[in-house]
């Protein structure tokens, strides 16, 4: 039976059909749906770990003990998991382990567009790259088999357009879930220097065997065509090339570490002009050039962003492979410019109050990763920086220690899920090193940005079970923070008062701004109305960046359909024109 599945759902299906026993990960676009889908299959244990490093370590334990395992994360999550990953290739596995790295060319929902294929080369992993959902499912199964056969972790590397595109997939029946026997083997699994050196040699041998496998596997194949133009490609680029150059000979690489060097040489010898088409870095190109093969790659195709057929067509026209198309009349010439429609914090979002206040107080704000990063955009403009998960706390401490005139003028802002992911150690450091910094934890009781996943402070786990709920206040106190205040961010005057007092207090302070995500607890109260006589059109309410508020003919207008009655604008309005339906309890 065939079904239309996204790459992520297909990967989950592949794990289900191929005997996976344990699945772990941390949410991150475009990887999140894999574990969400797996959690609905009977017989598979799945969990959200607090971060990617822990998720991978959970997976390593399960695989060492003999269970087939999948670990999922977005590309930048692999940075967090890199420490265990780089020694995992040394120890190898017992039950198969597949690490899904979901990359995001074009940065649809990420802070960078790093090319994680280099991780496979760096850490010495086998790497598979699917180009559609059927391949995603098949490679998941094959990845587990390769992992076991060659005693190596396998990276299944996807990109947004593979993870989030749907295509037809033939479903199969699940095999029996079996746990391989475990026996203690310290020379394999205990990485002290003496054993590490042995495993380093073993790793070179395993990679040599994998290179041989790569030459012969059907994952790497040649699509015959007109040999005037040959293209080497992998992943989603394969699909684009097939559409743009239907007659060209194509070497499609499904296994991209180690590369089939002999197959590449053979293909290069049979074609007149050779191109390599790959998004992001010249990962294939560099290795092809090292073989002394003349190839056109990044001197023609862009280093950044996603590719599409139009872009590739233009490049191949430039290279003289395609003829210049007849100039089309641009239907948009002379039309009005479309103003941007950036994503915004939702109506009723509790983060809005915090950024409005921080901006008013003119503080320097180190930010973090989550919906609240949107609080840095105009007109809220309440954040100065966003680097990576957990960075806000360390950065605020660094400013506090190094720059006297920003001391007492800087706060870190971090979400609850992000704090539990990698903020705890930053806070511990602030305490240990006598920081005077102030940390605001935006506790909206969920991992909102990626679609409301549970985490250790929500009281539920991925399997839908009731789970112990970490008390963030007690956690901060136990780390040694003496000043911990909990506020409701929707109480604007108290929020401002607490922030003012904590930035001036000595020692580290934590302010927990607690209110559930507006999408999580949809309590729609009566919409705010505007008293036309009192409204002076001063536009103070616009500074909230609320999607329900606009100014029409110099008077504020609250769109009743969009307003959820959070009453923040009522608190901000200087003339009393904004009238709440009822007091915000």
């Amino acid at each position: 039976m065939k079904e239309l599945l996204s790459g992520n759902v297909a990967i989950a299906r592949g794990a289900y059909e191929n005997g996976v026993i344990l699945a772990a990960g941390y949410p991150g676009t475009p990887s999140t749906e894999i574990l969400e889908t797996l959690s609905r299959y009977e017989g598979i244990y799945s969990e959200w770990a607090p971060n990617e490093k822990v998720a991978l370590e959970v997976g390593i334990g399960a695989a060492m003990a003999g269970a087939r395992t999948i670990v999922t994360m977005k590309h930048v999550g692999v940075n967090v998991a890199a420490d265990p990953l780089l020694s995992l290739a040394y120890t190898g596995v017992n039950g198969g382990l597949v690490l899904v790295s979901a990359d995001d060319p074009g940065m649809h929902s990420s802070q960078n567009e790093q090319d994680n294929r280099y991780y496979a080369k760096f850490a010495k992993l086998a790497m598979l790259e699917p180009s559609d959902s059927q391949e995603a499912k098949d490679m998941m199964g094959l990845g587990l088999a390769i992992s076991e056969q060659f005693d190596i972790p396998v990276m299944l590397r996807t990109t947004t357009r593979v993870a989030h595109s749907q295509s037809m997939v033939e479903l199969g029946e699940p095999v029996a879930r079996e746990i391989k026997p475990y026996s203690k083997d310290v020379k394999k699994n205990l990485m002290v220097p003496a054993f590490g050196r042995l495993r380093r040699i073993s790793l070179a041998e395993r990679m040599a065997k994998l290179a041989e496998y790569s030459e012969n596997t059907t994952l790497n194949f040649i699509v015959p065509g007109n040999d005037k133009v040959g293209v080497i490609t992998s992943g989603i680029s394969f699909q684009l090339v097939r559409e743009v150059l239907p007659d060209a000979a194509v070497l499609k690489l499904g296994m991209t570490n180690p590369l089939p060097l002999e197959l590449i040489k053979k293909f290069a010898a049979q074609v007149e002009t050779l191109f390599v088409v790959e998004e992001l870095e010249p990962y294939l190109e560099e290795q092809i050039r090292m073989l002394g093969i003349k190839v056109t790659g990044k001197d023609l195709f862009p280093y950044t962003g996603e590719y599409n057929q139009g872009l590739l067509r233009r490049c191949f026209v430039e290279a003289g492979v395609l003829s210049t198309p007849t100039q089309l009349v641009d239907p948009t010439a002379g039309l009005s410019q479309a103003p941007p429609r950036p994503p915004v914090l939702c109506a009723g979002c509790p983060h809005r109050a915090v950024f409005y206040t921080l901006r008013r107080l003119k503080l320097t704000v180190t930010g973090d990763i989550g919906c609240y990063t949107l609080g840095g955009l105009p007109p809220l403009e309440g954040i100065d920086s966003c680097v990576c998960m957990g960075a806000s706390i360390g950065m605020a401490h660094g400013i506090d220690k190094a720059v006297p005139n920003l001391k007492g003028r800087t706060v870190a802002v971090i979400g609850d899920s992000t704090f539990l992911h990698s903020g705890i150690t930053g806070l511990l450091n602030a305490v240990y090193n006598n920081s005077d910094s102030t940390i605001i934890i935006l506790d909206n009781r969920t991992t909102a940005m990626t679609g409301h996943q549970d985490h250790p402070a929500t009281g539920r786990n991925l399997m839908g079970q009731v789970a112990p709920e970490v008390d963030i206040t007690m956690l901060c106190r136990s780390l040694g923070v003496k000043r911990v205040e909990v506020v409701d961010p929707m109480d604007l005057s108290r929020l401002q008062e607490v922030i003012k007092s904590e930035i001036n207090a000595p020692g580290p302070s934590v302010i927990i701004a607690r209110r559930p995500c507006a999408l999580l607890k949809r309590e729609i109260k009566p919409a705010v109305t505007v008293n036309q006589e009192k409204c002076t059109g001063c536009k103070t309410c616009l500074k909230l960046s609320c999607p329900a508020i606009s100014i029409i003919e110099n008077k504020a207008l609250v769109t009743a359909d969009a307003c959820v009655g959070c009453n923040l604008c009522v608190q901000v309005c200087k003339t009393g024109a904004m009238q709440g339906g009822q007091a915000d309890a």
Binding site: L4, T29, P30, T32, H108, S109, D132, T160, R161, H164, S165, Q166, S167, M168, I236, Q239, L240, R242, E243, N308, Q309, G310, L311, R313, L328, V329, D330, P331, T332, A333, G334, L335, S336, Q337, A338, P339, P340, R341, P342, P343, V344, L345, C346, C371, L374, P378, P379, M449, T450, G451, K539, L542, S545, P547, I549, S550, I551
Partner: protein, 198 residues
Amino acid sequence: MLKPVDVLMVGVGGQGTILASKVLAAAAQAVGYDIKVSEIHGMAQRGGSVVTQVRLGEKVYSPLISEGEADVILAFEELEALRWLSFLKPGGTLIINNQQIYPVPVLAGVAEYPQNIIAQIQSRGVNVQVLKALEQAISCGNAKAANVVLLGALAQKLPIEEKIWRDALAATIPPRLLEVNNTAFTAGFIAGNVCAGC
């Protein structure tokens, strides 16, 4: 041989483009099309501009539609129609819902919502069908069914029989909402037909 069709669905986060693409995919699958659907999650959901790309054919390679290649653009909102218009193929059809949702830069007074978008696009000689999908959905009993009104108009453009669309709706939409959505589909189907020559 099934003729390839590329449909771009554009709108604002929360307007139901994803559900509409699911119904279309289910109907296309029943006819035997190969299908690829591509959409973006994450940041785009927070009230941003959203686009779902649906490609149908005997064999579909890329999941993406390039500029100047869409046979039909199904626009759930006027400004989004303008934003994505360059993706329409010469001779293609723009089905547009006459709804305006102001983006935050417009609400904040730092940008202007363009005037007379539909008339502007029509003046370029583009084949445009205008629908009052929101009003029709409300009169059918549920404002949220505007997406299915639009789908009804789209159905007139595709070689898929009405019965197959009805089955696709039944397979995709929860039973308690099916009746109102069937009514909404009919409203769009009729509007799309009446408007066929315009």
